[in-house]
């Protein structure tokens, strides 16, 4: 399955480049998962508690527990994550499954991280905003533009992306 995890950020950058360069969809998916797992692995505050969790509504790639102490992270001691290597922009119908999984994850988890080698359509950003307002769940997207920032670690990146994306979705909905 996933080969050995990488613990060096330069090597993770190489992994990301390889992920974008390969034309093989299966290989791309594996490289994306390996990148995400390596990023989690290098941060001692993060721990994957379940991988490829089968649920009533489908499969969830990762359930992660963290011990990051800042205000943003303390809202949700766990987060769930999905890695998608699809080529086409992510439509709300495709995102809906993930939003449902985050919503149904119990009271200790309101944060979902959606990693995609593509990008979201404006309607998908609106769906994320609606889920935040309706269900109180936070969804942060790491897309093709922000994946290269992953070697910096999730701790600082996720709150910054959330801030930018929450405002973006609000703007799109006006």
């Amino acid at each position: 399955m996933i080969s050995e995890l990488i613990t060096d950020s330069d090597e993770i950058s190489k992994l990301i480049r390889a992920c974008f360069e390969t034309k093989d969809s299966e290989e791309k998916g594996k490289l994306l998962e390996r990148t995400f797992e390596s990023i989690v692995h290098i941060d001692p505050r993060l721990q994957i508690v379940r991988k490829h969790l089968r649920t009533a509504t489908g499969e969830l790639d990762y359930v992660v527990r963290h011990s990051i102490g800042d205000a943003f992270w303390k809202q949700s001691p766990y987060f769930v994550a999905e890695c998608k290597n699809w080529k086409n922009p992510i439509e709300p119908e495709q995102l809906h499954h993930f939003l449902t999984l985050v919503r149904d994850s119990g009271p200790m988890c309101i944060l979902g991280i959606y990693v995609t080698t593509s990008h979201l359509t404006p309607a998908s950003w609106t769906a994320i905003r609606d889920a935040r307002l309706r269900d109180g769940i936070i969804t942060v997207v790491i897309d093709k533009k922000t994946i290269p920032k992953l070697p910096n670690g999730l701790g600082g990146l996720i709150p910054r992306l959330y801030e930018a994306q929450a405002f973006r979705a609000d703007d799109l909905s006006k």
Binding site: Q47, V49, R50, L53, R54, T55, A56, T57, L60, V63, R65, K74, Q75, P77, Y78, V80, L101, D104, S105, G106, P107, M108, C109, I110, G136
Partner: protein, 127 residues
């Protein structure tokens, strides 16, 4: 995958037994103690139970000073920014540090139906 099945069975059995004894809710700490399994394994399995709707979760707020139960919330965001204990006047900020996860059992049918065959089941009696 086998480990996941075994865990699922083991926790299903534990929760079903609790339900049949008339218990309708269990603290996460109780589940940990009674299952005798590592925390991260129980957490992962509970996630799948939450997802399936077999159980529901809530957060119970306890005063860190006097231990008084100060109510239950579906989500942390439902809690006020600060709660004052009406027994000892302690001021408790909204934080996961002061709540405990409560697992509400909704019925025993799920646990029985989703259990795997006895061969995967730690050798326990099959109902």
């Amino acid at each position: 995958m086998d480990q996941e099945k075994s865990l699922n069975n083991s926790l299903s059995r534990l929760l079903e037994r609790a339900f049949l004894k008339g218990r309708r809710q269990l603290y996460f700490s109780t589940i940990l103690r009674e299952s005798n399994l590592p925390s991260e394994l129980v957490e992962g399995t509970l996630f799948s139970f939450f997802q399936s709707g077999a159980v529901e979760g809530s957060l119970e707020l306890r005063c860190p000073e006097c231990g008084k139960d100060l109510g239950e919330y579906k989500k942390l965001s439902e809690m006020p920014q600060e709660v004052e204990c009406y027994i000892c006047d302690a001021k408790i900020p909204r934080s996961f540090d002061y709540v405990e996860l409560v697992v509400h059992l909704k019925g025993d049918t799920f646990f029985r139906e989703h259990r795997n065959p006895p061969s995967d089941d730690f050798g326990a009696n099959n109902r």
